[in-house]
């Protein structure tokens, strides 16, 4: 059985909600970051799938995906830098300890 558009969309939706669930429930900042990466990758999958099945002659979705991967890398670098700094000042990377950042 050839995998069709719906299979891929099902996969990406599943990935997206796994990411959301992880982001909302985990207390560890690194895990939360990983959840965000999952959400981003579900979006990437969507782009690729739509590109391939609806407009196979064009490359837009592909390029978008490449851009998102590049930006995600940069974002991960920044996020990890923030996490390291948080660890230095709070001695923990638990998100509940970062609540006082609102002040």
């Amino acid at each position: 059985m050839q995998p069709g558009l719906y299979h891929i969309l099902f996969l990406s939706t599943a990935l997206f909600f796994i990411g959301v669930y992880g982001f909302l429930t985990r207390r560890n900042l690194i895990t939360m970051l990983m959840s965000i990466e999952l959400i981003l990758n579900s979006v990437n999958l969507n782009f690729i799938a739509f590109n391939k099945y609806l407009w196979p002659n064009q490359m837009d979705g592909l390029f978008f995906t490449l851009f998102i991967i590049a930006i995600a890398a940069a974002e991960a670098a920044v996020a990890i830098a923030i996490i390291i700094n948080l660890y230095r000042s709070h001695n923990s990377i638990d998100v509940e300890n970062a609540e006082d950042l609102k002040y």
């Binding site: 909302l24 970062a98 609540e99 609102k102």
Partner: protein, 646 residues
Amino acid sequence: MPNVTAIALIPLLPLAGFLLLGLFGRKYFKNSSGIIGTMLLLASTVLALYTAYEYFFVYGKVAGVYEKFVALQLTWLEFSPGVSIDMGLIIDPISVMMLVVVTFISLMVHIYSLGYLKGEERFPTYYSYLGLFTFSMLGLVLASNIFQIYIFWELVGVSSFLLIGYYYDKPSAVAACKKAFIVTRFADLGFLIGILILSFSGGTLDFATLIERLTSPESNEFKTAAASTFLGASALTWGAALVFIGGAGKSAMFPLHIWLPDAMEGPTPVSALIHAATMVVAGVYLVARLFPIFSVAVPGVLEIIGWVGAVSAIIAAIIACTQTDIKRVLAYSTMSQIGFMMFALGVSNYGGEAGLGYTASMFHLFTHAMFKALLFLGAGAVIHYVHSNDMKDMGGLRKFLPITHITFLIACLAIAGVPPFAGFFSKEEILLAAFHNNMAIYWIALITSGITAFYMFRLYFNIFWNKELPSSAKATKGKEGGFAMMMPLVLLAVGAAAAGFIPFGEYVSSDGKALHAHFDLSFSIAPVALGLIGILTAFWLYKKQNDKPTKLATSLGGIYKTVYNKFYIDEIYLFITKKVLFNLIGRPAAWFDKNIVDGLMNLIGNVTEKISEGIKKVQSGKVQQYAIYFLGGVIVLAVLFIYIWK
């Protein structure tokens, strides 16, 4: 031509004194401030005398008429081209006369205060205030436009306020200075509105142009002002009447006189300068300055002025008979004499023989400044000696204060109108002017001058005769005031005795032409006889200590009590303000402010606070909570976009 530098320096020298002593006095001139102030004022006085000489004898008279000169005209505040407030120096007979009066009396007071206030803690402050007052009064006198006069008008009000409240640790002085300021401010509101009406209808602030436009019936300004009416009176009438209210407030005319007796809380030399000789006659000066408008354009208002003056004169004279505080007697006497000046203007016409009242008023202003300042300074010497204001503590002082006694007697004779002292001549002229124009006012004036003689000699006998003090008292009480206090008394006594011989009509008249007053000796019989009756009555009642005055007071009963309480005018004011205004307007307004206005504001504030209290909880700092809100929002939006807003 006028010497601009000399004239400009007359007010500027006291101003320099005010700035110097006010800024650095307490630090650097602790002891020399009096001398500095006096020296500056001496220079001012010399310049004023020089200006007067030059004006009256050298350049002032052009073809038999004393001209008005505007010595200096500066644009002070320009709103737009053509609309500006100027500062100028006007030189005409009355302003030059006032220059001499103000600088001379102020100089006397400066010298006198050297002795009177010796050793005061705030000596430099006192002299700086005196400088401020003299500067503002001279500026008022020299003002060339109506707005400038208003500015200096308020400045003299402020300096009067400061000087009345000089003993600021005394609650009565604080109350008195507030009262003086509020009452005169209230009257000045009328003045300001009057200025606005007059200058709006005249299209200018400048005195000369204003008078020219508002007195010629052909000019457009006059026609417009006379045509526009409000409550049955023309704009011109309203303007002139409101300006007079300002003048009446400053000159303590009935019923705005209540501040003047209380103003006696200030140091006595201040009372002599401000509340007898200079500031309180500013109202008279203002009416005289605008006299052509009053007499030509709005004779009705001039008639009101006459009656206000006459009523003030007699009421004040009656009250003065019952007061026991010597300064208050003098205060009511001042009010009465200013009433004389006012109604003299009120019964005058413009130009020629009929303008006698104008000349008489200015003449009385001049002589009154001399003898009333002398009376106050004499009273100051007495107070300095016995340390009390009350007649009860005085008596038999003629042996202890010989110089004060003689000079005080001269001043009393002058104010009582006994020839040949100064008051006789000016009062005679006033009576003559009233006689020709308004018989009712003439009779009031005649009776008032009799009462004047009575209360002045009541004062005199009570201070210097009456009770005999034992001669041993001399040793305990010390000497009469020193040279600084006696010299002004003697100089002013010379003025009070001789000022009447100045042929005043030659120099000051309503239209600038010389006015030769005709004296009829038979006319003088009635006032002089009444004056003598007044003096003899006072002699009979008060020469020796006896029970006649008390008996008389008891036999008059209620009348005496009413007069003693100043006709309950203060009480009426208190009733109107405290009971009527406070209860009917003040309280409801306060309630409205507290409950409606404040309530509305509080409501808005409280609602905002409650809402923000609720919203505040949303910002928790929990990143995951934010993400849930975000997710929820996105889902809601998605549902909306997909199923509802297709």
